[in-house]
């Protein structure tokens, strides 16, 4: 598959805004949907709508098979040791809230400590703050340096006998830097601390092998990896998922229910209460198929990185000497030009970028900015789109100067 064939899979790439071709560079927020994903959603909605697992009728059996095959495919995609370690959720936010609740109930007591990186998306920070408030636990900060690099080397000095959980992103949604998860996992393992990884960006830009990473939990969303919005995954080590209580009670997640109490279904259904996203979750399957066939990205990353680092007045965060450790996610400030003004002008030129705090206010405080502009690329973005973005940015800056 070449890039032109890839682009043809995404209907939205051919639309225009304000009469200009859309250049969609907000992929770190939400990727576009390919035709096989749209088709899968439509196919299930029109032919295989039924609740899972319970009913004896034929359609329910088909729907269940499709859903469980998706679980097998996801397990293979991230090299989980067992499909029962794959819990379907509504997205990374759901996965992380589930973890903060369930791990908190099982393992966190008053005075215990949770360590979170200060570069985190709010979805991997606020649930831990809520846990700390609920349990009287202490939230500790793993810092980044002035460029945004996570200071993972400081982790051993932060861990105490009271530390229970470390939560960190695989790749920062603002900085695009790949964090050294294997190293962090080794430190956690040595100290008997659980490691939760927010893989919302990681699943898109890395070949994820959860066993090789060495973490205990890995959370991600479908909508950033070309699948339907409202889908997501929580992977966890089986022995840990078995030890922690569910967050939601309801249908599907029980084994037996009496008036007094209930026993829970085995993994993964223990964590899948209520009617699942029966049309959405199976779209993970064609999304994974496509990701496996995607051509390598054009030289967009090298071009944008070198251009933005050399551009006068532009301050790029998340710099690195090794571009293999950087996803094509570029957040930057422009001297004398507000991020919101730039985004507004770029929008009128047909370029969709993100501006603001990118759901990472503590990181903005750390970097000393009120917000940034972010351009995030997907494999379907061409080098000529990247060049158009740079030229549009230059024009926007000159309008504002």
């Amino acid at each position: 598959m070449n890039i032109q064939q890839l682009r043809e899979q995404f209907p939205q790439l051919s639309r225009t805004v304000y009469g200009k071709p859309l250049v969609y560079l907000d992929n770190a927020a939400t990727s576009l949907r390919p035709q096989p994903v749209i088709d899968k959603w439509t196919e299930i909605s029109s032919e295989r709508t039924a609740n899972l697992h319970r009913a004896v009728h034929h359609i329910a059996a088909e729907a269940t098979e499709e859903y469980e095959n998706t679980r097998l495919k996801v397990a293979g995609f991230i090299n989980a040791s067992d499909p029962s370690e794959i819990v379907f959720t509504s997205g990374a936010t759901h996965s992380l809230n589930l973890l903060a609740f369930s791990l908190g109930e099982a393992f966190v007591r008053q005075g215990d400590e949770i360590i979170v990186s200060e570069a985190e998306h709010h979805s991997n920070l606020v649930p831990w703050q809520m846990l700390c408030a609920r349990k009287g636990a202490v939230l500790k900060r793993l810092t980044v340096d002035d460029s945004g690099r996570l200071q993972a080397e400081l982790l051993p000095s932060l861990i105490t006998p009271r530390t229970r959980i470390v939560a960190v992103a695989h790749i920062s949604n603002v900085l695009g830097l790949v964090n050294p998860i294997e190293e962090i996992a080794a430190v956690c393992r040595k100290n008997g601390v659980l490691l939760v990884v927010d893989g919302a960006q990681g699943i898109v830009h890395q070949q994820v092998d959860v066993q090789a990473l060495g973490c205990d939990f890995y959370a991600f969303s479908g909508h950033k990896m070309y699948a339907s919005p409202g889908t997501g995954v929580l992977w966890g080590r089986k022995e840990l998922l078995e030890q922690v209580p569910p967050m939601f009670g309801g249908g599907e997640m029980i084994e037996t229910v009496s008036w007094e109490s209930s026993t829970y279904a085995p993994l993964p259904r223990k964590f899948e209460a209520g009617t699942q996203n029966i049309s959405g979750t199976p779209t993970l399957s064609p999304a994974i198929d496509l990701m496996r066939r995607m051509p390598p990205q054009e030289d967009v990353k090298e071009y944008v990185y070198s251009t933005l680092t050399e551009e006068p007045g532009v301050r790029l965060f998340g710099t690195t000497s090794d571009l293999s450790l950087k996803a094509p996610v570029f957040s930057f400030a422009v001297e004398g030009a507000h991020h919101e003004d730039l985004a507004l002008i770029l929008d009128k030129m047909g370029v969709a970028v993100r501006s603001g705090q990118m759901c990472a206010e503590p990181l903005m405080d750390r970097l000393g900015v009120t917000g940034l502009l972010r351009a995030s690329f997907a494999p379907y973005n061409t080098l000529s789109e990247a060049e158009f973005f740079v030229n549009s940015l230059r024009k926007a800056i000159s309008m504002l100067k």
């Binding site: 304000y18 030009a337 507000h338 919101e340 003004d341 985004a343 507004l344 002008i345 929008d347 009128k348 030129m349 501006s355 603001g356 009120t370 917000g371 309008m399 504002l400």
Partner: protein
């Protein structure tokens, strides 16, 4: 110039531009030319909620009229502020309250803003109306 005349003047100015980029260039010019706003008035109680950029609005009664001054760290927002201050500053609270702020629609500003900025604009209008009703 009456409030009505001022609004008509702005609508006419904006009608000269075909492209939204040109309208932005004009708003940027207005933003850059906005009268300086004192640093000591950049307080939290003057900060308008609901904007991606920060917007401060100060309102004082003077001889029966409301005098507005405002600022933002984003220049297009400053341009919008300049329009609002130009139209509504120096008017009586009654004049402001009886106006429907429809000139913003007539120049296409509301529907051409991103939802976050449109919310910011609505917040600015609400704040101006609130100041007027507090001073009737």
């Amino acid at each position: 110039m009456t409030l009505q005349e001022k609004k008509e003047q702005i609508i006419e100015e904006f009608s000269m531009f075909d492209e939204w980029l040109d309208k932005y260039e004009y708003l940027i010019e207005l933003g850059k030319a906005l009268a300086p706003y004192p640093e000591e008035k950049k307080t939290d109680d003057r900060l308008i909620k609901g904007c991606q950029s920060r917007v401060w609005l100060d309102a004082q009664m003077s001889g029966g009229s409301l005098v507005f001054s405002a600022d933002s760290d984003a220049v297009i927002t400053r341009g919008i502020i300049s329009l609002l201050v130009g139209v509504y500053s120096g008017r009586t609270p009654q004049e402001i309250l009886s106006d429907d702020f429809s000139f913003l629609e007539a120049i296409g500003l509301k529907e051409n803003l991103s939802p976050t900025r449109a919310n910011g604009l609505l917040s600015m209008i609400e704040t101006i109306r609130k100041k007027a009703s507090e001073n009737v």
